[in-house]
Symmetry: C2
Subunit: 235 residues, 2 copies
Amino acid sequence: MAYDLWYWTGAPGRGEFVRVAMEAAGISYRDRAREDGVDALVDDMEARTGIRPFAPPYLVDGDICIAQVAHIVTWLADRHGFGGKDARSNLELIMLQLTVTDITAEAHDVHHPIADALYYDDQKDAAKRVAEDFREKRMPKFFRYFEDALSANDGPFVLGEKWSHVDTSLFQLVEGLRYAFPQRMAAIEGDYPKLIACRDAMAQLDGLKAYLASDRRMAFNEDGIFRHYPELDAA
Amino acid sequence: MAYDLWYWTGAPGRGEFVRVAMEAAGISYRDRAREDGVDALVDDMEARTGIRPFAPPYLVDGDICIAQVAHIVTWLADRHGFGGKDARSNLELIMLQLTVTDITAEAHDVHHPIADALYYDDQKDAAKRVAEDFREKRMPKFFRYFEDALSANDGPFVLGEKWSHVDTSLFQLVEGLRYAFPQRMAAIEGDYPKLIACRDAMAQLDGLKAYLASDRRMAFNEDGIFRHYPELDAA
């Protein structure tokens, strides 16, 4: 069984959270738009009717087609054994996963606070104001939250020794924020040792290690969620 | 069994999506901060450690404590029979529910595009630009999406004759947007008859009808997610 992942080809973006989870878990998938081109993605989206994805990424398995990153990785975790240890634990992980979704959306809105349809240059002044709030208030608030979650067990992962879909997303979140806000991350990372230890432990998993060394792993750039604009960063 | 709902008391806000679902389903709950005061909410949040809510609303049942609106209503739907008709249907409903979360976040960001920590007046110029994009591009795009989802069956609900947690959220979404953007909604509602029919059918459910007529239903105001600032609305 191989899943079809559909996502834009120009940046790691939100699709990368899904890739990281699948690569960590050793799940086979075809990265359809990278194989067949962006036109194939547009055609596939347009051919879908009724209950369908609002936007990529979406994952297809036979007649099941699911969008929304948090939803996709939770679904994969249920099927492939990287979810919680019981019903309550599953619920808690989904809550954490949706909070990764929130900070990821905020990291995107830093560079596009007015409209996705506008260029960055047309919303740069607003972006600077959002960036200050994000760096000074939001990053520490979210990081403290994840640090506390990682304190619930003995680490390095949220559940302890067993990694879950939350840890794969925390890995990608830390990587993305390091790219986008290198000065700020260097200044505050030391305050969140469990979060960084989780990131480091994830990077050592066989599946993820191989992925990160492969050409499947796309570099961050200024077309994605996590963008590095030096004027938006500061210690 | 009565759930404890914890949410701020000053506006319907995100908590109202949870209330609407519980009232429609006839689920007993205590609205804790409205009963015991906001200090009790702050105390409750501060007493929670480890894996905990990032922000209200959150719902407590014994030792289970779950935040994130989409997650709470999905959990309730699973337990109380207003989820999907099978596994695939459940997955589709969660995808739709998370898309309601997205447009709700965008509706909030219209009036607070720079930072939650700042007053509306300090981000009013940016808000006007965001509002134009939201009214002209985002509302039609999301509404078309939900209209298509409501076309998958014969209505009035997403699943057909049986309402689900997605319909309760669509009801509250339409109500909130009617409050925030009355001119825009009057101009475009006619293009989305299935969405409005879903809203109308929800309003006729016994549980929701009684709730809407009660003093438990709080009026929208300018402290919540859906705020009416006339300068942000237009046909």
